[in-house]
Amino acid sequence: MEILYATAIITLFAVVCGGLLGFASVKFKVEGNPIVEQINEILPQTQCGQCGHPGCKPYAEAIANGEAINRCPPGGEAGIKALAELLDLEIIELDDSCGEEAPARVAVIREAECIGCTKCIQACPVDAIVGAPKLMHTVITDECTGCDLCVPPCPVDCIDMPILQSALDSWKVPSPQVININEVTSEPPSKIKLEDAV
């Protein structure tokens, strides 16, 4: 009889707790950032299309549907690492077929040569080129993502893509870790040695 009571009490307790948990999960539901948005946050938003998708968001959707995470050259290694961390995937190398990781660039129109065809304006994914038909166009440098998409349509090849920052501006203080004794091995670990020991 005691066993029955005990079982009944525990069961009741479990049901009540379960009910409370269920209620809480509905009542205090946290609106999670949908996975596509989270992926999109990590992508560099250059909208360059090197991944084969027309923009970063479509690629984010594709990744959410299982596409490889290594198809974004502007995001580079850091981007792949962040995506791998978010999606709990393995870190893989950048897909060469998409392009190589390169320093950020910016489009500059040689204004004297521009014929005002508006083709680049239509190609720009972030509306960073201003101009009107038959009038000179120019690039808003701060808003240009350096995606290269305006270069092919230009009939007179008047768009240059110089590197955005000088070496000095993009210089970052290096980590002092390289000179830490504990990071430096007394002798490089060599496989031969281990085999010799065996």
């Binding site: 203080v173 004794i181 504990n182 091995t185 007394s186 002798e187 490089p188 670990p189």
Partner: protein, 352 residues
């Protein structure tokens, strides 16, 4: 070429700090050797040697410069602390197992000095205490109570071979003049309480008093060393003072509630490893809380646990368990005791 950091450093280097802590152990260790015999000294050599060798071995395997790293003296300190925590005639291989475990598992596996979450010496000690409870509680009586005290040769023989050339083993040296075997005062009081004795009865016991006497001197030795550490600013007051105050307060409270079933603060403060724990074990910076407010909380809680375990727990002494328990809590304590940064008016709490 240029470097953006001029870098001026004028601190006592880590290896020197560690060496000074080792040297500060001398008064306590000397008292311990004086009262408990040569076995302690032999243990110290076994433990220190094992610690250094184990450290160098692992460093070699980890492809780090063994000689340069072992010079930080941290392994030496761990070895010495274990050597002082174990009974004087513990078999040599047990000491080596304890120290090896402390250095290899509790310290180097985590990444070596600075990375270990648990106090290595206490991990080694607890491993021994749990694995070899009988040997680990086989303390010797003070010389004036004992029927016979082992000399240095006999100690070596017992530690390395289990018996002396004349056939005596450790139990022969544990016997008192009246035929009882001797334990530490903490052991003794625990047993006495379980037999229904009152505090006053325990304190009337002549054996107990004499036994307590030499532990008092040993603790005093560590107190002297500890005060040297405080004066030379190698450790700060936060941990030892809070720890001792906490022990005194908790035990006094219990004593005031029931003076016949609990021991007074004066006993707790000078029994077992209290002083060694206060100045040399709980103060291990790597595993203690890092903020100063956190250190006070950390030490107070260790003190509480020491008194609780000593009084209500199954083990007579509790420094090791209390320290390890609080080592687990260290990151949490640190997180909640972050000092308020200059100019930070409104504290933004971040829970994660």
């Amino acid at each position: 070429m240029s470097n953006s950091h001029a870098f001026l450093n004028d601190a006592r280097p880590t290896h020197q700090l560690m060496m000074l802590v080792c040297l500060a152990l001398i008064p306590g260790a000397a008292a311990q050797i004086h009262f408990l015999g040569w076995g302690i000294l032999i243990n110290l050599f076994i433990c220190a040697g094992t610690a250094i060798l184990a450290e160098m071995l692992i460093l070699k395997l980890r492809n780090k410069p063994p000689l340069e790293t072992v010079k930080d003296n941290s392994a030496l300190l761990t070895g010495l602390l274990i050597g002082l925590a174990i009974p004087p005639l513990l078999p040599w291989w047990m000491s080596m197992v304890g120290v090896g475990f402390a250095i290899i598992i509790a310290k180097q596996i985590y990444g070596g000095l600075g990375f270990n979450p648990f106090n290595p010496a206490m991990v080694g000690y607890v491993l021994l205490l749990i694995s070899f409870p009988v040997e680990m509680t086989a303390w010797l009586p003070s010389p004036d109570l004992a029927t016979a005290a082992p000399n240095i040769i006999e100690s070596i023989q017992i530690i390395f071979f289990g018996q002396t050339s004349s056939g005596a083993n450790i139990t022969d040296y544990q016997k008192l003049a009246d035929g009882f075997t001797m334990a530490t005062p903490l052991d003794h009081s625990k047993t006495a309480f379980s037999l229904g004795n009152m505090t006053s009865e325990i304190f009337q016991n002549n054996q107990f008093l004499k036994g307590t006497g030499h532990w008092f001197w040993i603790n005093l030795g560590y107190l002297v060393g500890g005060i040297y550490l405080l004066i030379s600013r190698i450790i700060h007051w936060h941990i030892p003072v809070s720890f001792l105050l906490s022990i005194a307060t908790c035990s006094t409270l219990l004593f005031l509630i029931d003076g016949q079933n609990y021991l007074p603060a004066s006993f707790h403060l000078f029994a077992g490893a209290t002083m060694l724990g206060a100045f040399f074990i709980a103060t291990d910076p790597v595993t203690a809380s890092t903020t100063f407010k956190g250190r006070i909380i950390y030490a107070v809680l260790i003190g509480v646990f020491v008194v609780v375990i000593r009084t209500f727990g199954g083990y007579p002494d509790a420094i090791a368990f209390a320290v390890l328990l609080l080592n687990i809590a260290t990151p949490t304590i640190d997180h909640y005791t972050k000092p308020k940064v200059y100019g930070e008016k409104i504290e933004v709490k971040v829970y994660d």
